[in-house]
Protein backbone atom coordinates (compact mmCIF):
# COMPACT_ATOMS: atom_id res chain seq x y z
CA UNK A 1 0.00 0.00 0.00
CA UNK A 2 1.33 3.41 -0.92
CA UNK A 3 2.48 5.54 2.02
CA UNK A 4 2.21 9.33 1.99
CA UNK A 5 5.57 11.06 1.62
CA UNK A 6 6.74 13.05 4.62
CA UNK A 7 5.08 10.94 7.29
CA UNK A 8 6.78 9.00 10.06
CA UNK A 9 5.31 5.83 8.58
CA UNK A 10 7.10 6.65 5.32
CA UNK A 11 10.39 7.20 7.16
CA UNK A 12 10.05 3.86 8.97
CA UNK A 13 9.18 2.11 5.72
CA UNK A 14 12.26 3.56 4.04
CA UNK A 15 14.47 2.36 6.89
CA UNK A 16 12.98 -1.11 6.55
CA UNK A 17 13.48 -0.96 2.80
CA UNK A 18 17.16 -0.13 3.24
CA UNK A 19 17.62 -3.00 5.66
CA UNK A 20 15.91 -5.39 3.28
CA UNK A 21 18.03 -4.37 0.29
CA UNK A 22 21.05 -6.52 -0.49
CA UNK A 23 22.01 -3.88 -3.06
CA UNK A 24 22.18 -1.20 -0.38
CA UNK A 25 23.83 -3.50 2.18
CA UNK A 26 26.69 -4.26 -0.20
CA UNK A 27 27.03 -0.86 -1.83
CA UNK A 28 27.04 0.98 1.51
CA UNK A 29 29.13 -1.47 3.52
CA UNK A 30 31.87 1.14 3.99
CA UNK A 31 29.62 4.17 4.34
CA UNK A 32 29.77 5.45 7.94
CA UNK A 33 32.69 3.20 8.85
CA UNK A 34 34.95 5.38 10.98
CA UNK A 35 32.93 8.53 10.36
CA UNK A 36 29.42 9.80 11.03
CA UNK A 37 27.35 8.68 8.06
CA UNK A 38 24.01 9.92 9.32
CA UNK A 39 22.29 11.75 6.46
CA UNK A 40 19.87 14.64 6.51
CA UNK A 41 17.87 14.78 3.29
CA UNK A 42 16.18 18.15 3.01
CA UNK A 43 13.21 18.46 0.68
CA UNK A 44 12.77 22.19 0.13
CA UNK A 45 9.34 23.75 -0.14
CA UNK A 46 8.16 24.57 -3.63
CA UNK A 47 4.94 24.54 -5.62
CA UNK A 48 4.36 20.89 -4.86
CA UNK A 49 5.52 20.77 -1.24
CA UNK A 50 4.12 23.63 0.87
CA UNK A 51 6.39 23.06 3.87
CA UNK A 52 9.97 21.79 3.82
CA UNK A 53 10.62 18.31 5.15
CA UNK A 54 13.91 17.11 6.61
CA UNK A 55 14.56 13.38 6.83
CA UNK A 56 17.22 12.16 9.24
CA UNK A 57 18.57 8.78 8.17
CA UNK A 58 20.78 7.00 10.68
CA UNK A 59 22.74 4.86 8.24
CA UNK A 60 26.08 3.19 8.73
CA UNK A 61 27.88 0.22 7.23
CA UNK A 62 25.01 -0.88 5.03
CA UNK A 63 22.23 -0.75 7.61
CA UNK A 64 19.65 1.78 8.75
CA UNK A 65 19.37 2.26 12.50
CA UNK A 66 16.44 4.63 12.34
CA UNK A 67 14.76 7.31 10.28
CA UNK A 68 12.65 10.25 11.30
CA UNK A 69 11.58 13.64 10.05
CA UNK A 70 13.15 16.47 12.02
CA UNK A 71 12.44 20.16 12.25
CA UNK A 72 15.35 22.01 10.77
CA UNK A 73 18.11 21.76 8.23
CA UNK A 74 20.68 21.72 11.01
CA UNK A 75 20.58 18.66 13.22
CA UNK A 76 23.35 17.70 15.62
CA UNK A 77 23.23 14.04 14.62
CA UNK A 78 23.69 14.65 10.89
CA UNK A 79 27.12 13.98 9.39
CA UNK A 80 26.06 14.98 5.90
CA UNK A 81 23.23 16.98 4.41
CA UNK A 82 21.73 16.88 0.94
CA UNK A 83 19.39 19.74 0.14
CA UNK A 84 17.26 20.46 -2.92
CA UNK A 85 13.79 21.70 -3.80
CA UNK A 86 11.23 18.93 -3.61
CA UNK A 87 10.58 18.98 -7.35
CA UNK A 88 14.27 18.32 -8.02
CA UNK A 89 14.30 15.45 -5.56
CA UNK A 90 11.30 14.04 -7.39
CA UNK A 91 13.14 14.34 -10.71
CA UNK A 92 16.07 12.47 -9.18
CA UNK A 93 13.90 9.79 -7.62
CA UNK A 94 11.93 9.27 -10.81
CA UNK A 95 15.06 8.99 -12.94
CA UNK A 96 14.74 12.23 -14.89
CA UNK A 97 17.82 13.74 -13.28
CA UNK A 98 21.04 12.21 -11.99
CA UNK A 99 22.03 13.14 -8.46
CA UNK A 100 25.63 13.78 -9.53
CA UNK A 101 24.42 16.03 -12.35
CA UNK A 102 22.29 18.02 -9.91
CA UNK A 103 25.29 18.24 -7.59
CA UNK A 104 27.56 19.39 -10.42
CA UNK A 105 25.07 22.07 -11.41
CA UNK A 106 24.88 23.21 -7.79
CA UNK A 107 21.18 22.44 -7.54
CA UNK A 108 21.66 19.63 -5.06
CA UNK A 109 23.56 21.19 -2.20
CA UNK A 110 25.87 19.18 -0.01
CA UNK A 111 26.60 19.87 3.64
CA UNK A 112 29.62 18.11 5.07
CA UNK A 113 32.64 16.61 3.36
CA UNK A 114 31.59 16.54 -0.30
CA UNK A 115 34.55 14.45 -1.37
CA UNK A 116 33.72 11.85 1.26
CA UNK A 117 30.23 11.68 -0.19
CA UNK A 118 31.65 11.28 -3.69
CA UNK A 119 33.93 8.53 -2.45
CA UNK A 120 30.78 6.57 -1.69
CA UNK A 121 28.63 7.61 -4.61
CA UNK A 122 27.62 4.02 -5.33
CA UNK A 123 26.24 3.78 -1.78
CA UNK A 124 24.20 6.94 -2.24
CA UNK A 125 22.92 5.67 -5.58
CA UNK A 126 21.71 2.47 -3.92
CA UNK A 127 20.10 4.51 -1.16
CA UNK A 128 18.25 6.68 -3.62
CA UNK A 129 17.08 3.61 -5.45
CA UNK A 130 15.55 2.35 -2.17
CA UNK A 131 13.70 5.66 -1.85
CA UNK A 132 12.56 5.34 -5.48
CA UNK A 133 11.31 1.80 -5.03
CA UNK A 134 9.25 2.66 -1.95
CA UNK A 135 5.55 2.75 -2.83
CA UNK A 136 4.93 6.42 -2.10
CA UNK A 137 2.15 8.94 -2.48
CA UNK A 138 3.99 12.13 -3.39
CA UNK A 139 2.29 15.51 -3.12
CA UNK A 140 1.09 16.66 -6.54
Amino acid sequence: MAIPFGTEAWAQALCAQLNASSEYRNAAAKWGKGFNGTLLLSFGADGKLPEPRHLLLRVAEGTCDGATFVDGIDHPEAGFGLEAPFSLWKDILEGRQLAVTAMLAGHLKVRGDRFKLLQHVAAQRALLHCVTSLDTVFPE
Binding site: A105, R114, V121, A122, R125
Partner: protein
Protein backbone atom coordinates in the same frame (compact mmCIF):
# COMPACT_ATOMS: atom_id res chain seq x y z
CA UNK B 1 20.68 9.75 -60.12
CA UNK B 2 18.53 8.47 -57.25
CA UNK B 3 15.42 9.89 -55.56
CA UNK B 4 14.84 12.25 -58.45
CA UNK B 5 17.44 14.66 -57.05
CA UNK B 6 19.28 16.70 -59.64
CA UNK B 7 22.44 18.40 -58.43
CA UNK B 8 22.00 21.07 -61.05
CA UNK B 9 18.84 22.15 -59.24
CA UNK B 10 20.94 23.44 -56.35
CA UNK B 11 21.81 26.96 -57.48
CA UNK B 12 25.10 26.92 -55.57
CA UNK B 13 26.44 23.69 -57.00
CA UNK B 14 27.82 25.06 -60.25
CA UNK B 15 29.37 28.24 -58.82
CA UNK B 16 31.02 26.25 -56.03
CA UNK B 17 32.38 23.63 -58.39
CA UNK B 18 33.64 26.35 -60.72
CA UNK B 19 35.88 27.73 -57.97
CA UNK B 20 37.58 24.43 -57.19
CA UNK B 21 40.00 21.93 -58.67
CA UNK B 22 38.58 19.27 -56.33
CA UNK B 23 35.17 17.67 -56.60
CA UNK B 24 31.83 18.80 -55.16
CA UNK B 25 29.19 16.22 -54.32
CA UNK B 26 25.50 16.69 -53.57
CA UNK B 27 23.37 14.43 -51.33
CA UNK B 28 22.44 12.13 -54.19
CA UNK B 29 26.12 11.49 -54.83
CA UNK B 30 27.67 10.77 -51.46
CA UNK B 31 27.24 7.77 -49.20
CA UNK B 32 25.30 7.51 -45.94
CA UNK B 33 28.57 7.04 -44.06
CA UNK B 34 29.12 10.79 -44.37
CA UNK B 35 25.86 11.52 -42.53
CA UNK B 36 27.29 10.43 -39.20
CA UNK B 37 30.63 9.79 -37.54
CA UNK B 38 32.15 7.01 -35.45
CA UNK B 39 29.82 7.95 -32.60
CA UNK B 40 26.71 7.06 -34.64
CA UNK B 41 24.79 9.34 -32.30
CA UNK B 42 24.17 12.36 -34.52
CA UNK B 43 22.97 12.10 -38.12
CA UNK B 44 23.21 15.23 -40.24
CA UNK B 45 22.99 15.75 -43.99
CA UNK B 46 25.37 18.24 -45.60
CA UNK B 47 24.32 20.26 -48.59
CA UNK B 48 27.66 19.67 -50.28
CA UNK B 49 30.63 17.41 -49.68
CA UNK B 50 33.85 18.81 -51.08
CA UNK B 51 37.01 16.83 -51.67
CA UNK B 52 39.67 19.53 -51.87
CA UNK B 53 42.63 18.84 -54.08
CA UNK B 54 44.80 21.68 -52.82
CA UNK B 55 44.99 24.02 -49.81
CA UNK B 56 43.76 26.74 -52.18
CA UNK B 57 40.58 24.70 -52.65
CA UNK B 58 40.03 24.92 -48.89
CA UNK B 59 40.56 28.69 -49.07
CA UNK B 60 38.02 28.93 -51.89
CA UNK B 61 35.48 26.81 -50.02
CA UNK B 62 35.68 29.04 -46.95
CA UNK B 63 35.44 32.22 -49.04
CA UNK B 64 32.50 30.79 -50.96
CA UNK B 65 30.85 29.79 -47.68
CA UNK B 66 31.28 33.33 -46.33
CA UNK B 67 29.76 34.81 -49.44
CA UNK B 68 26.72 32.55 -49.18
CA UNK B 69 26.39 32.18 -45.40
CA UNK B 70 27.03 28.44 -45.44
CA UNK B 71 28.58 26.64 -42.48
CA UNK B 72 31.72 24.59 -43.15
CA UNK B 73 32.59 21.43 -41.26
CA UNK B 74 35.75 19.40 -41.57
CA UNK B 75 35.96 15.65 -41.62
CA UNK B 76 39.10 13.58 -41.45
CA UNK B 77 38.49 9.91 -40.77
CA UNK B 78 35.25 10.81 -39.03
CA UNK B 79 36.28 9.30 -35.70
CA UNK B 80 34.53 12.02 -33.72
CA UNK B 81 31.54 11.15 -31.61
CA UNK B 82 29.86 14.46 -31.03
CA UNK B 83 28.75 17.09 -33.55
CA UNK B 84 32.07 17.15 -35.35
CA UNK B 85 32.95 15.76 -38.80
CA UNK B 86 29.32 16.05 -39.88
CA UNK B 87 27.34 18.94 -41.30
CA UNK B 88 23.72 19.94 -41.19
CA UNK B 89 22.96 21.68 -44.45
CA UNK B 90 26.42 23.11 -44.96
CA UNK B 91 29.65 22.19 -46.69
CA UNK B 92 31.46 19.13 -45.40
CA UNK B 93 35.14 19.20 -46.31
CA UNK B 94 36.37 15.64 -46.78
CA UNK B 95 39.93 16.34 -45.73
CA UNK B 96 41.32 12.89 -46.46
CA UNK B 97 41.55 14.14 -50.03
CA UNK B 98 44.48 16.29 -48.86
CA UNK B 99 46.77 13.37 -48.14
CA UNK B 100 50.24 14.18 -49.38
CA UNK B 101 53.33 13.54 -47.30
CA UNK B 102 55.36 16.52 -48.41
CA UNK B 103 58.87 16.51 -46.99
CA UNK B 104 61.03 14.72 -44.44
CA UNK B 105 63.88 16.61 -42.83
CA UNK B 106 66.14 13.88 -41.51
CA UNK B 107 68.44 16.28 -39.73
CA UNK B 108 65.74 18.20 -37.91
CA UNK B 109 63.62 15.07 -37.44
CA UNK B 110 60.52 16.69 -38.86
CA UNK B 111 58.01 15.85 -41.54
CA UNK B 112 55.61 18.11 -43.42
CA UNK B 113 52.23 16.57 -44.19
CA UNK B 114 48.88 17.68 -45.47
CA UNK B 115 46.08 17.73 -42.95
CA UNK B 116 44.26 14.73 -44.34
CA UNK B 117 47.17 12.32 -44.08
CA UNK B 118 46.30 9.26 -42.02
CA UNK B 119 48.74 8.54 -39.22
CA UNK B 120 49.10 4.92 -40.31
CA UNK B 121 50.30 5.99 -43.77
CA UNK B 122 52.78 8.38 -42.23
CA UNK B 123 54.14 5.80 -39.80
CA UNK B 124 54.74 3.29 -42.58
CA UNK B 125 56.25 5.95 -44.82
CA UNK B 126 58.68 7.03 -42.11
CA UNK B 127 59.84 3.50 -41.30
CA UNK B 128 62.56 3.63 -43.95
CA UNK B 129 64.06 6.65 -42.20
CA UNK B 130 63.84 4.97 -38.75
CA UNK B 131 61.77 7.96 -37.68
CA UNK B 132 58.37 8.06 -36.03
CA UNK B 133 56.04 10.74 -34.67
CA UNK B 134 56.65 11.21 -30.98
CA UNK B 135 53.05 10.49 -30.00
CA UNK B 136 50.66 8.16 -31.74
CA UNK B 137 47.06 7.43 -30.89
CA UNK B 138 45.99 3.82 -30.36
CA UNK B 139 43.98 3.95 -33.56
CA UNK B 140 46.28 4.93 -36.42
CA UNK B 141 43.42 5.12 -38.88
CA UNK B 142 42.68 8.76 -38.09
CA UNK B 143 43.96 11.91 -39.74
CA UNK B 144 46.62 14.30 -38.58
CA UNK B 145 44.34 17.31 -38.88
CA UNK B 146 41.66 15.49 -36.93
CA UNK B 147 43.69 14.48 -33.90
CA UNK B 148 45.60 17.76 -33.74
CA UNK B 149 42.22 19.49 -33.50
CA UNK B 150 41.37 17.41 -30.43
CA UNK B 151 44.86 17.12 -28.84
CA UNK B 152 45.86 13.55 -29.66
CA UNK B 153 46.74 11.32 -26.75
CA UNK B 154 48.75 8.13 -26.90
CA UNK B 155 50.86 5.70 -24.96
CA UNK B 156 53.90 8.00 -25.19
CA UNK B 157 52.02 11.10 -23.98
CA UNK B 158 53.47 10.72 -20.50
CA UNK B 159 56.80 11.66 -22.11
CA UNK B 160 55.87 13.95 -24.98
CA UNK B 161 52.46 15.40 -24.19
CA UNK B 162 49.77 15.42 -26.84
CA UNK B 163 50.28 15.17 -30.58
CA UNK B 164 49.44 18.86 -30.65
CA UNK B 165 52.42 19.56 -28.43
CA UNK B 166 54.68 18.13 -31.12
CA UNK B 167 53.68 20.39 -33.98
CA UNK B 168 56.46 22.68 -35.14
CA UNK B 169 54.41 24.72 -37.59
CA UNK B 170 51.11 24.62 -39.43
CA UNK B 171 49.35 26.16 -42.40
CA UNK B 172 45.80 26.94 -41.37
CA UNK B 173 42.91 28.24 -43.45
CA UNK B 174 41.05 30.51 -41.09
CA UNK B 175 37.32 31.04 -41.03
CA UNK B 176 38.06 34.38 -42.68
CA UNK B 177 39.37 32.49 -45.70
CA UNK B 178 43.05 33.36 -45.16
CA UNK B 179 45.87 30.83 -45.50
CA UNK B 180 48.17 31.55 -42.55
CA UNK B 181 51.36 29.91 -41.34
CA UNK B 182 51.50 29.68 -37.57
CA UNK B 183 53.70 28.12 -34.93
CA UNK B 184 54.44 28.45 -31.21
CA UNK B 185 56.56 31.47 -32.22
CA UNK B 186 54.53 33.01 -35.06
CA UNK B 187 50.82 33.83 -35.08
CA UNK B 188 50.67 32.11 -31.73
CA UNK B 189 47.00 32.82 -31.00
CA UNK B 190 46.01 31.07 -34.21
CA UNK B 191 48.39 28.20 -33.53
CA UNK B 192 47.24 27.51 -30.00
CA UNK B 193 43.56 28.02 -30.75
CA UNK B 194 43.85 25.52 -33.60
CA UNK B 195 45.64 22.86 -31.54
CA UNK B 196 42.90 21.08 -29.57
CA UNK B 197 40.63 23.85 -30.80
CA UNK B 198 37.85 21.55 -32.06
CA UNK B 199 38.03 23.10 -35.52
CA UNK B 200 36.59 26.36 -34.28
CA UNK B 201 39.04 28.82 -35.81
CA UNK B 202 40.72 27.19 -38.77
CA UNK B 203 41.34 24.18 -40.97
CA UNK B 204 44.74 22.50 -40.83
CA UNK B 205 46.02 22.00 -44.38
CA UNK B 206 49.68 21.41 -43.54
CA UNK B 207 51.51 20.46 -40.38
CA UNK B 208 55.19 20.08 -39.65
CA UNK B 209 55.51 17.38 -37.02
CA UNK B 210 58.38 16.68 -34.67
CA UNK B 211 59.67 13.14 -35.01
CA UNK B 212 62.00 10.99 -32.99
CA UNK B 213 64.44 8.22 -33.82
CA UNK B 214 62.73 4.82 -33.69
CA UNK B 215 64.56 1.70 -32.62
CA UNK B 216 63.80 -1.45 -34.58
CA UNK B 217 62.36 -3.59 -31.81
CA UNK B 218 60.13 -3.30 -28.79
CA UNK B 219 59.86 -5.43 -25.69
CA UNK B 220 56.56 -5.25 -23.81
CA UNK B 221 56.08 -6.55 -20.29
CA UNK B 222 52.52 -7.64 -19.58
CA UNK B 223 51.93 -7.01 -15.88
CA UNK B 224 48.66 -7.56 -14.05
CA UNK B 225 47.42 -5.75 -10.94
CA UNK B 226 44.55 -6.69 -8.69
CA UNK B 227 44.38 -3.32 -6.97
CA UNK B 228 44.03 0.05 -8.66
CA UNK B 229 46.07 1.83 -5.99
CA UNK B 230 49.01 -0.52 -6.34
CA UNK B 231 48.74 -0.14 -10.10
CA UNK B 232 48.84 3.64 -9.79
CA UNK B 233 51.86 3.47 -7.49
CA UNK B 234 53.70 1.50 -10.14
CA UNK B 235 52.41 3.70 -12.95
CA UNK B 236 53.89 6.72 -11.22
CA UNK B 237 57.13 4.87 -10.63
CA UNK B 238 57.24 3.90 -14.30
CA UNK B 239 56.56 7.45 -15.50
CA UNK B 240 59.31 8.82 -13.29
CA UNK B 241 61.85 6.09 -14.02
CA UNK B 242 62.74 7.43 -17.45
CA UNK B 243 63.28 3.89 -18.70
CA UNK B 244 60.04 3.28 -20.56
CA UNK B 245 58.96 4.39 -24.04
CA UNK B 246 55.27 3.47 -23.92
CA UNK B 247 52.84 2.90 -21.03
CA UNK B 248 49.41 1.42 -21.62
CA UNK B 249 46.80 0.07 -19.26
CA UNK B 250 43.22 -1.05 -18.98
CA UNK B 251 40.64 -2.18 -16.54
CA UNK B 252 39.72 -5.77 -17.30
CA UNK B 253 36.73 -7.59 -15.77
CA UNK B 254 36.53 -11.01 -14.23
CA UNK B 255 32.82 -11.83 -14.28
CA UNK B 256 31.45 -12.90 -10.92
CA UNK B 257 27.69 -13.30 -11.40
CA UNK B 258 24.76 -10.93 -11.19
CA UNK B 259 23.75 -8.35 -8.62
CA UNK B 260 21.13 -5.61 -8.42
CA UNK B 261 22.18 -2.19 -9.62
CA UNK B 262 19.40 0.31 -9.11
CA UNK B 263 17.03 -2.59 -8.82
CA UNK B 264 17.95 -4.29 -12.07
CA UNK B 265 20.10 -7.40 -11.91
CA UNK B 266 23.16 -7.10 -14.05
CA UNK B 267 26.38 -8.97 -14.51
CA UNK B 268 29.10 -7.66 -12.27
CA UNK B 269 32.82 -8.14 -12.22
CA UNK B 270 35.95 -7.98 -10.15
CA UNK B 271 38.17 -5.61 -12.09
CA UNK B 272 41.85 -6.16 -12.70
CA UNK B 273 44.38 -3.80 -14.20
CA UNK B 274 46.67 -4.99 -17.00
CA UNK B 275 49.69 -2.73 -17.34
CA UNK B 276 51.82 -3.00 -20.45
CA UNK B 277 55.22 -1.33 -20.27
CA UNK B 278 57.27 -1.13 -23.43
CA UNK B 279 60.85 -0.28 -24.25
CA UNK B 280 62.33 0.07 -27.70
CA UNK B 281 65.70 -1.51 -28.39
CA UNK B 282 68.08 -2.16 -31.20
CA UNK B 283 68.42 -5.73 -32.36
CA UNK B 284 71.20 -7.40 -30.43
CA UNK B 285 70.88 -5.06 -27.45
CA UNK B 286 67.89 -6.34 -25.52
CA UNK B 287 66.83 -4.56 -22.37
CA UNK B 288 67.76 -5.72 -18.89
CA UNK B 289 64.50 -7.29 -17.74
CA UNK B 290 65.48 -7.62 -14.11
CA UNK B 291 66.60 -4.01 -13.75
CA UNK B 292 63.51 -2.66 -15.46
CA UNK B 293 61.04 -4.69 -13.44
CA UNK B 294 62.76 -4.57 -10.06
CA UNK B 295 60.92 -1.49 -8.74
CA UNK B 296 57.48 -2.76 -9.78
CA UNK B 297 55.10 -4.81 -7.65
CA UNK B 298 52.49 -6.41 -9.90
CA UNK B 299 50.11 -9.14 -8.87
CA UNK B 300 51.63 -11.17 -11.68
CA UNK B 301 54.05 -10.79 -14.56
CA UNK B 302 52.17 -12.63 -17.28
CA UNK B 303 54.19 -12.35 -20.44
CA UNK B 304 57.07 -10.66 -22.23
CA UNK B 305 56.69 -9.92 -25.91
CA UNK B 306 59.23 -8.81 -28.49
CA UNK B 307 57.87 -7.16 -31.63
CA UNK B 308 59.23 -5.05 -34.45
CA UNK B 309 58.39 -1.50 -33.42
CA UNK B 310 56.26 -0.97 -36.50
CA UNK B 311 54.11 -3.93 -35.42
CA UNK B 312 53.91 -2.60 -31.88
CA UNK B 313 52.54 0.67 -33.21
CA UNK B 314 49.86 -1.34 -35.02
CA UNK B 315 49.22 -3.62 -32.02
CA UNK B 316 45.52 -2.79 -31.76
CA UNK B 317 44.77 -3.27 -35.44
CA UNK B 318 43.70 -6.93 -34.96
CA UNK B 319 41.36 -5.80 -32.17
CA UNK B 320 39.78 -3.16 -34.38
CA UNK B 321 39.46 -5.68 -37.22
CA UNK B 322 37.72 -8.06 -34.86
CA UNK B 323 35.28 -5.34 -33.83
CA UNK B 324 34.58 -4.56 -37.47
CA UNK B 325 33.97 -8.22 -38.32
CA UNK B 326 31.68 -8.55 -35.30
CA UNK B 327 29.67 -5.54 -36.44
CA UNK B 328 30.28 -3.47 -33.31
CA UNK B 329 32.19 -0.84 -35.30
CA UNK B 330 28.78 0.30 -36.54
CA UNK B 331 27.29 0.52 -33.03
CA UNK B 332 26.86 3.68 -31.00
CA UNK B 333 30.19 4.87 -29.54
CA UNK B 334 29.60 7.30 -26.70
CA UNK B 335 33.12 7.21 -25.35
CA UNK B 336 33.47 8.79 -21.93
CA UNK B 337 37.09 9.82 -21.53
CA UNK B 338 38.35 11.96 -18.73
CA UNK B 339 41.65 13.13 -17.27
CA UNK B 340 41.70 12.92 -13.48
CA UNK B 341 43.87 14.47 -10.81
CA UNK B 342 46.18 11.89 -9.30
CA UNK B 343 44.72 12.46 -5.85
CA UNK B 344 41.16 11.46 -6.75
CA UNK B 345 41.81 8.98 -9.54
CA UNK B 346 41.79 5.76 -7.54
CA UNK B 347 38.61 6.65 -5.68
CA UNK B 348 36.90 7.68 -8.91
CA UNK B 349 37.91 4.52 -10.72
CA UNK B 350 36.74 2.34 -7.83
CA UNK B 351 33.37 4.10 -7.69
CA UNK B 352 32.78 3.80 -11.42
CA UNK B 353 33.95 0.23 -11.85
CA UNK B 354 31.97 -1.18 -8.93
CA UNK B 355 28.73 -1.05 -10.92
CA UNK B 356 30.10 -1.05 -14.46
CA UNK B 357 28.78 -3.92 -16.52
CA UNK B 358 31.55 -6.03 -18.05
CA UNK B 359 29.46 -6.02 -21.22
CA UNK B 360 31.30 -2.78 -21.94
CA UNK B 361 34.10 -5.03 -23.20
CA UNK B 362 32.01 -6.21 -26.16
CA UNK B 363 33.42 -4.15 -28.99
CA UNK B 364 35.05 -1.74 -26.58
CA UNK B 365 37.27 -1.46 -23.54
CA UNK B 366 38.04 0.50 -20.41
CA UNK B 367 41.29 2.41 -20.75
CA UNK B 368 43.62 3.93 -18.22
CA UNK B 369 46.57 6.06 -19.14
CA UNK B 370 49.02 7.49 -16.66
CA UNK B 371 50.01 10.97 -17.79
CA UNK B 372 52.17 13.95 -16.97
CA UNK B 373 50.34 17.26 -17.09
CA UNK B 374 53.63 19.09 -17.34
CA UNK B 375 54.45 17.55 -20.73
CA UNK B 376 51.76 19.60 -22.49
CA UNK B 377 51.83 23.28 -23.43
CA UNK B 378 48.52 23.17 -25.22
CA UNK B 379 46.20 25.96 -24.17
CA UNK B 380 42.97 24.18 -25.06
CA UNK B 381 43.78 20.60 -24.12
CA UNK B 382 42.31 21.05 -20.68
CA UNK B 383 43.63 18.89 -17.89
CA UNK B 384 43.66 19.12 -14.11
CA UNK B 385 46.42 20.98 -12.35
CA UNK B 386 49.33 18.95 -11.11
CA UNK B 387 52.14 16.93 -12.59
CA UNK B 388 50.75 13.42 -12.29
CA UNK B 389 47.40 12.71 -13.94
CA UNK B 390 45.40 9.65 -14.84
CA UNK B 391 43.33 9.28 -17.96
CA UNK B 392 40.33 7.01 -17.71
CA UNK B 393 37.98 6.05 -20.49
CA UNK B 394 34.89 3.90 -20.79
CA UNK B 395 34.87 3.12 -24.52
CA UNK B 396 31.79 1.04 -25.25
CA UNK B 397 30.12 -0.02 -28.49
CA UNK B 398 26.44 -0.01 -27.73
CA UNK B 399 23.72 -1.51 -29.91
CA UNK B 400 21.48 1.44 -30.80
CA UNK B 401 18.50 -0.02 -28.95
CA UNK B 402 20.45 0.04 -25.65
CA UNK B 403 21.83 3.57 -25.97
CA UNK B 404 19.04 5.22 -23.98
CA UNK B 405 19.49 2.67 -21.20
CA UNK B 406 23.26 3.14 -21.02
CA UNK B 407 23.29 6.92 -21.30
CA UNK B 408 22.62 7.76 -17.62
CA UNK B 409 25.50 5.55 -16.52
CA UNK B 410 27.93 7.32 -18.85
CA UNK B 411 26.52 10.75 -18.00
CA UNK B 412 26.90 9.96 -14.31
CA UNK B 413 30.49 8.82 -14.82
CA UNK B 414 31.21 12.04 -16.72
CA UNK B 415 29.68 14.30 -14.08
CA UNK B 416 31.34 12.42 -11.24
CA UNK B 417 34.71 12.86 -12.92
CA UNK B 418 34.15 16.60 -13.13
CA UNK B 419 33.03 16.75 -9.50
CA UNK B 420 36.27 14.98 -8.60
CA UNK B 421 38.39 17.54 -10.41
CA UNK B 422 38.65 15.80 -13.78
CA UNK B 423 38.53 17.30 -17.25
CA UNK B 424 36.74 15.48 -20.02
CA UNK B 425 38.84 14.63 -23.06
CA UNK B 426 36.76 16.06 -25.86
CA UNK B 427 37.35 13.44 -28.53
CA UNK B 428 34.54 11.34 -27.13
CA UNK B 429 30.86 11.79 -26.43
CA UNK B 430 30.14 15.20 -24.94
CA UNK B 431 26.81 16.66 -23.93
CA UNK B 432 27.81 19.80 -22.05
CA UNK B 433 25.46 22.67 -21.39
CA UNK B 434 26.89 26.19 -21.64
CA UNK B 435 27.92 26.47 -17.95
CA UNK B 436 29.74 23.14 -18.24
CA UNK B 437 31.57 24.28 -21.40
CA UNK B 438 32.66 27.41 -19.60
CA UNK B 439 33.72 25.48 -16.52
CA UNK B 440 35.65 23.05 -18.73
CA UNK B 441 37.75 25.77 -20.32
CA UNK B 442 37.81 27.95 -17.24
CA UNK B 443 39.92 31.05 -17.76
CA UNK B 444 40.64 29.94 -21.35
CA UNK B 445 37.00 30.22 -22.41
CA UNK B 446 37.10 33.94 -23.07
CA UNK B 447 40.37 33.65 -24.97
CA UNK B 448 38.97 30.80 -27.04
CA UNK B 449 35.86 32.78 -27.92
CA UNK B 450 37.96 35.85 -28.74
CA UNK B 451 39.99 33.74 -31.15
CA UNK B 452 36.75 32.46 -32.65
CA UNK B 453 35.59 36.00 -33.34
CA UNK B 454 38.96 37.01 -34.71
CA UNK B 455 39.68 34.06 -36.98
CA UNK B 456 36.15 32.95 -37.84
CA UNK B 457 34.25 36.24 -37.87
CA UNK B 458 31.13 34.79 -39.47
CA UNK B 459 31.09 31.79 -37.10
CA UNK B 460 30.98 29.34 -39.98
CA UNK B 461 33.44 26.67 -38.90
CA UNK B 462 32.26 23.42 -37.35
CA UNK B 463 29.05 24.70 -35.78
CA UNK B 464 26.84 22.71 -33.46
CA UNK B 465 29.32 21.43 -30.89
CA UNK B 466 30.92 24.23 -28.93
CA UNK B 467 28.17 26.77 -28.19
CA UNK B 468 28.46 30.12 -29.90
CA UNK B 469 28.26 33.36 -27.98
CA UNK B 470 28.15 35.81 -30.83
CA UNK B 471 26.80 38.69 -28.81
CA UNK B 472 29.30 38.61 -25.99
CA UNK B 473 31.64 41.61 -25.60
CA UNK B 474 35.16 41.02 -26.80
CA UNK B 475 37.40 39.86 -23.94
CA UNK B 476 41.06 40.54 -23.55
CA UNK B 477 43.34 38.65 -25.93
CA UNK B 478 46.25 36.50 -24.95
CA UNK B 479 47.00 33.57 -22.77
Amino acid sequence: MSCGYDARMDPLYAPLQARLTGAVFTPDQFGRDLLTNFGHIHHWTPRFVVEPRTPQDVVEVVRFAREHGLPVSTRGAGHSQSQLAISQGGILLAMQALSKILHVDQRAHTVDVEGGVVWRDLVHFLKKFSLVPRVLTNNLGVTIGGTLSIAGIGVASFKYGSQGDNVVEMDVVTGAGDLVTCSPEENTDLFWSTIAGLGQVGIIVRARLQLRRMKAMTRTYYLLYDDVRRFLDDAKQAMDAGAWDHLESWASPSVQGTKPVEGRRQVFARWFFPFHLTVEFDAGSPPDDRALLAPLKPYEHLYTDDLPTIDFLERLLPVFELWKRAGTWEHVHPWMETVLPWETAATYIEQVLVDLSPAVQVGGHVLLWPAKGTTSRSRLFMRPEGEDLVGFGILPAIPPQYWAQMKPMLAGASDLSILMGGKRYLSGWIEFDLPTWKAHFGARWDWMKACKRRFDPDHLLNPGFVPDEVDRPAPVEGR
